[in-house]
Symmetry: C2
Subunit: 692 residues, 2 copies
């Protein structure tokens, strides 16, 4: 317990935090602290409230959303439908520019590849999952558990098209739960405002407050070609919000790393975020310049730039947190408290999960660049996707999918287990536009950054490039491939490995060629980093339950959570602001230069909207990326807004909740009502929402 | 002395370093450890050797160089003349592509704005300088000392055109020396190879070894229109180098931060380098894409991209050092050793310079972004210049120069003291090409990053942008300005403040408009950061002399230093390589795709150059950026190469010397001889060098 000795001497105990602070926590619906929330907020919610909120909450891609009518109408953020809008638009008919305003349900358009889910059931499968990993280590441990998860999912959901099953690891392996979802594969766009009304202030105002953005949109769930019947839903409430009022935010926050040890956080600070952010910054530069080369390029690059800038700015906030001495002190104090409880409960020389995790860090630091660049999806960084391009990712899915489907489900890479194939196919076959020039820029960037970070003499880089340059290779692959055509992708998928091997598509051939080194990188990571980390984290989770019981909540995992708080500004020096902004504030902030130009239709409605109508508000709830679109709900179950953002300072909530600075940013139902009524004339939707 | 208690408990004393390691140190010529060097290397150099080396060493812009004939011929690196080559080239006659190969002296071309200097005298002025700062603090302290330095310089050099005087702060204010130089303002290009012969491997091979680059060039010093007489010079020695042979490297390393405390280094790790590197990475992306837009753009952006990538890669190496646990442990151990000696010598409650510096860090962290972005030249980071553009910098010099020259010399910003005006004029009046489109890209990037990092609501950003966008403003300024014309710049300079105020040049008007906020940022930095830091550093320097005597060397300051070592590869795991590369290795490394294409003329000479001719070599000397072009000298005073690079791992030498990994990379005189003789047919130069 060298750590404990060291840490205890560091005289930071003044900050010692025991368990969760008031209002802290992204709680699972089966372990929500009802009594504590009621006590903190002065409310009286009960299990029935939780059930209704859960069944009214919708997961939509990487976003959250809420049912607002009995005919499948769902409110989410405009930025959550931005890719759908981009896919439905052309340069000539550009809904991002004009807004999307169908006057009837028949005009609602299907989002390519879009699907939505409602969580219907949670079952404990911890015992089965722990048993599957018993006695194993390294990659074998990881693979055995992945296989068991796939089996559990397949047993529970089979091939049902309207269900999805997912084994969720909670508390970093402390618990495993089977989540069952009602799944909707036909999701249509029902309304989106002008993009600039939703993104007023652009990247500059992103992750900040005061804020002036109508970042809302509606989608509709369909079944059998008709609007889905959804008797359980939130009641639309557009009343003027009141400071201090209690609210609940229900959504699917993507990922937090609050249960990581200080050593693990140091690796993120030193290695993970610096690399990810630096290469993202260069891509940003390339795309900004690309977007200035013409109207076509501006159109193509808009959505990718917004997404990239959002991830990048979040990463900046995280770097700031991990380099903020006072925040780090708070985290260290909490770790010391935990270590002391553990030492008191284990007076002998017990296992030392902190030491195990510390010992893994040099390997993690060494292997991270190759893993992040060649495989992506590390879960701890902000790396843009491996391959850099949509075409590349499709090709990888086709090649790996064909190779993996030759094996039994339990032996495949987990994303190709039988239980996951339906989602894979949906994404692969979606009718989405591809912009080859843009894809080439991204693939060239990816090849060039991979070569730079791994070095030109790395054998994997040699396989990746051969004697070609990133410029030449990416141009050759993008020009030669026909994967932009969904029919081609479908035929290759259905043709299996024989079709893949016989294909003369250069991108397919390329992906075949690089399978060996890229798969090896993934295996090495699982063997030397992921597997051992998971095992040690599981031990830490057991220790945490022993020390704190269920008064701790699990890290966010992209699954449904409930968080609570109140409508509130901040009183932190340098960050003082009240909880509300108004349309009047929007008109004042407009300079006439982008990104501070008011969208034309919105501007035209200026005189119809009372200037004191609340536009956005801040709440103290604990949210993170993925919480976007989360319904904000009163204790009575009324929806009063959609969460769409937080602040740069709040990005520290990836690693720990800081009550002083943590604020989520909400677009109010009042603002949405005004937009529907006074700007976009969406009378049908207003009637459906019960607005008089 | 809280620090000491804390640090001593950290159990890192195993690494404790006392004073300089063998071969460590960028020593001043007036405090070179002759005995120690002779003992370490088995040589017998003496004061005469030092004097000859000093008088044969040349400072050329930000680079180093060495005299190699009695007619002013000087060898440096090709990358040190790259800007000169770019300034002399057009897209049609592009010497970077063809090499510059004058057959007679008459064909040698003057480098616009180029000047070179030889250090002739060193005088101690510590007492005067310390006296000037007595009793003062903050900005007053900084300004009083700047003024005294200007006075000393002016007294010593007056307006002599062939001399330059410079008061140099050594040991972070521990000593002040007056350096007097013989100055040459007419420097001509005498030979440059094809740029690709000098930069083979491009950014990928930069800061690495093995290396295959003829990064050498010749310039010639002129006086009164004729080659300067330089009887003292190095003897050209192109013999095959021998592993283990002792060498001395004489040059002007730019800046190190080895005397900084751990708290100061943490600020660089957490705040300075992350910001600088992230914004540089975005500029890199913008410029890469710009360079792909056409041949003109590729031509314009080549030199800026190379410079940017060089600084950026150096920054990466520095980030790696500051996040390397073992390197940080080594630095911490050295600090503990120093603290313990200090505590032993000061048993009472003496002043605590470490504590003072620690207390300054929150302010430094807060003020750094504005200072770096609006003023630049922080000396601790890697920020590209404020304003982002050449035109902007000229305008700033004109506006500030006019404003400052209204005051007495001692009251001006130090760069406009009488003693510095000659250099300012030379740079300002130089006939250099300007590429407006490129300048606009850079200015737009700078405005946009400044707005992003300081936030859109910062009053200084409001002044900077008004209601304009970075795109619109930069385009308006670049299109409207006539400062690209040197005659315009000269007229505005000579017209003084009246001419500036009457000018309708939009860039001049813009610089006038932003003087108040940018000057305020600088004053605040001097008041709250620079001044107090200088004072505490001076106390630390006194403590260091007390603890270690003159066995310590000062941080690099862009002034002449001598370092010693031997020809040697490395035996570090993952970094094992011998000391030499050959032309044969070059042919093997060529893939046919850029940047691994052999330059055409060089390739055509393949059969004429023996494959085992040594091309580059590694030495263990202690160098850093600014050491580029440094003559590598035998104990007999022969020149055997020019330092041109080091490795990424070596970048830690900004913060501390690490004998295991520190290697400088040298282009050998043998390789240069082969290039002159077998590739470029420079018979005149060969004869001048005495090559048979």
């Amino acid at each position: 317990m060298r750590h404990l000795a060291l840490a205890a001497s560091a005289a930071v105990l003044a900050f010692a935090a025991s368990s969760a602070q008031a209002e802290e926590g992204m709680w699972t619906f089966d372990n929500f602290p009802i009594a504590r929330a009621n006590q903190t907020l002065g409310t009286s919610i009960d299990q029935g409230f939780l059930d209704r909120v859960r069944l009214s909450s919708v997961k939509f891609g990487g976003c959250s959303a809420g049912l607002v009518s009995d005919a499948g109408l769902v409110m989410t953020n405009n930025h959550c439908v931005a890719t759908c809008v981009a896919n439905l638009s052309t340069q000539a008919v550009n809904y991002a520019e004009t807004g999307f305003t169908p006057k009837t349900r028949e005009e609602e358009l299907k989002c390519p590849g879009g699907s939505a889910e409602i969580l219907t059931d949670i079952t404990d499968v911890t015992e089965r999952m722990h048993k599957a990993g018993e006695g194993l280590s390294g990659a074998a441990f990881t693979r055995a558990r992945d296989a068991e998860a796939g089996r559990i999912e397949q047993e529970a959901c089979g091939d049902a098209a309207d269900k999805r099953c997912q084994v969720v690891s909670l508390y970093r392996g402390g618990q495993f739960k089977l989540y069952t979802y009602r799944k909707y594969s036909d999701v249509r766009l029902a309304w989106a405002p002008e993009d600039r009304a939703a993104t007023f202030g652009g990247d500059l105002d992103n992750f900040s407050f005061p804020r002036f953005a109508i970042d809302a949109a509606f989608i509709r769930l369909y079944e059998n070609g008709a609007p889905a019947a959804t008797p359980t839903h939130f009641r639309w409430n557009a009343d003027k919000p009141v400071e201090g009022a209690p609210v609940f935010v229900s959504g699917s926050p993507g990922a937090t790393q609050r249960l990581l040890t200080m050593d693990q956080l140091a690796s993120i600070r030193d290695v993970v975020l610096p690399m990810d952010q630096l290469i993202a910054s260069e891509l940003r530069g390339r795309l900004i310049r690309y977007s200035q080369e013409g109207e076509r390029q501006a159109f193509e690059a808009m959505d990718p730039i917004v997404g990239l800038e959002n991830t990048y700015k979040r990463g900046l906030g995280r770097m700031r947190a991990l380099t903020d001495p006072s925040f780090i002190q708070m985290k260290a104090a909490a770790e010391i408290d935990f270590m002391q409880k553990y030492a008191a409960a284990n007076p002998g020389q017990g296992p030392d999960p902190w030491g195990e995790l510390e010992a893994l860090q040099p390997t993690l630091r060494e292997l991270y660049p190759a893993y992040a660049l060649l495989e992506g999806g590390t879960g701890i960084g902000t790396t843009p996707v491996a391959g850099g391009s949509q075409l590349f990712l499709w090709a990888r899915t086709l090649v790996r999918g064909a190779q993996e489907r030759e094996k039994a489900s339990a032996e495949r890479l987990p994303e190709f287990a039988d239980s996951r194939l339906a989602a894979t196919r949906t994404a692969l076959f979606a009718e989405r536009p591809v912009y080859p020039a843009l894809d080439q820029v991204r693939m060239e960037w990816w090849l060039s950054k991979t070569r730079e970070w791994l070095t030109v003499d790395d054998p994997r880089v040699r396989t990746l490039l051969g004697n070609e340059s990133p410029e030449g290779l990416s141009a050759r692959l993008v020009e030669g491939t026909t994967l932009a055509d969904p029919a081609v992708r479908r035929a290759l998928w259905e043709g299996g490995l024989a079709a893949i091997q016989a294909s003369d598509d250069p991108l397919i051939q390329y992906l075949l060629k690089i399978q060996e080194p890229t798969r090896a990188v993934r295996t090495e990571w699982e063997e030397k980093v992921q597997g051992p980390t998971d095992r040690a984290s599981e031990a830490l989770a057991a220790a945490r339950f022993a020390a704190y019981g269920d008064s701790v909540y699990p890290d966010a995992t992209g699954t449904l959570r409930l968080t609570y708080g109140q409508i509130e500004g901040t009183d932190v020096p340098g960050q003082r602001w009240g909880p509300f902004t108004t349309f009047g504030g929007l008109w004042e902030r407009a300079t006439g230069a982008q990104p501070f130009v008011v969208a034309p239709k919105l501007l035209a409605a200026k005189d119809r909207i009372p200037a004191d109508t609340v536009l956005n508000m801040a709440v103290s709830s604990d949210t993170i990326g993925g919480s976007s679109g989360s319904p904000v709900v009163t204790p009575q179950g009324d929806i009063v807004g959609a969460n769409f953002d937080s602040t740069v300072l709040t990005q520290r909530n990836a690693y720990g909740y800081d009550r002083n600075v943590n604020r989520s940013v909400i677009v109010t139902t009042g603002a949405v009502t005004a937009a529907l009524r006074d700007v976009y004339g969406m009378d049908g939707l207003l009637a459906e929402l019960g607005v008089r």
